[in-house]
Amino acid sequence: MERVLTILPAWNEAESIAAVIKELQQEVPGMDILVVDDCSRDATAAVARAAGAKVVRLPYNLGVGGARRLGYRYAVEHEYDVAVQMDADGQHDPRYIKDMIDALSDADLVIGARFAGEGVYKVAGPRQWAMKLLSKALSAIARTRLTDTTSGYRACRGELINFYSRNFPVEYLGDTVDTIVQAKRCGYVIKQIPVSMRPRQGGTPSNSPTKAMIYLFRSGLALLLALVRR
């Protein structure tokens, strides 16, 4: 039996985290859940612990990339075979975890992707261009069709966990773009499976055009940096 760890980076998610953990426990019994509390000001850590998750708490806010790297480090130190990373806001449906773990049999990194047939999720304008740009470029690099490169819903196994625990990029968008480029460059096999995303249980997604333009610009920069980095 493979030991599986789900990594949930959480920042001020006390209201939604218990429901997410409960759903995970029902959907995939026997799997360990690690909540990486990125120095929340609310009771995220306590709520998660009460719900039965393992909790590590960062002494100051490192951002989602930093929290994920800590999650991978935890997975390495506690010798897990498979690490699944999800968002803690309930967007990612835990029903797909089993499929993702199955897909790991012939890949090192499995990305749960929107726009791949399943579910409805619409974006438009500069944000859509940015996502198109990233998916085109990264599909070419990874030599496989990747429709949703910014998805934070992923599973990886074995040596790649070790690799991410040392090299997981902590910069904005680096945690999505850089991770794919690095994994490919080091010879790992990347694959995607279609998933549907749910609306977030808390918070609102940003729709301002200025923010979308900045997003486009930053994705271009992230891509450029990922390509020229050693």
Partner: protein
């Protein structure tokens, strides 16, 4: 003459300040050494501002002062780039430390729980 007085005083004050910072161990030696070298190199210029004129005419620059300003801008740029690099490195180091602390605290909490269980069977 008055200009020379101003530049010379500035150079001397800089030298004293750096030396004092080094003496009080407020400045790491590598930075202290760098700035001391700069101060020592600039000091003769402060007393005799025309010292660079020969070199600048050789390089095709109109006056020694322009050469000096150009060189100092380049130098300061390099120093700021170096500081950015240094702070990126420090950030990476503190990040690793904070990860280490988070993992250790999780381990400690687990051990404490175990101990409680042993105490109260």
């Amino acid at each position: 003459m008055r200009l020379t007085f101003v530049t010379a005083t500035t150079g001397l004050v800089m030298l004293v300040v750096i030396f004092e910072l080094l003496r009080r161990r407020q400045l790491r030696e590598k930075y202290g050494a760098l700035w001391l070298l700069v101060a020592v190199a600039v000091l003769p210029l402060a007393f005799i501002p025309t010292l660079l004129d020969g070199l600048s005419s050789f390089l095709g620059i109109a006056s020694g002062l322009s050469l000096f300003l150009f060189a100092s801008v380049v130098f300061l740029l390099l120093v700021t780039v170096h500081l950015s690099w240094e702070s990126s490195r420090l950030e990476e180091e503190t990040r690793s430390l904070s990860e280490e602390i988070a993992l250790l605290r999780a381990d400690v909490a687990e051990l404490q729980e175990l101990r409680e269980k042993v105490k109260t069977p």
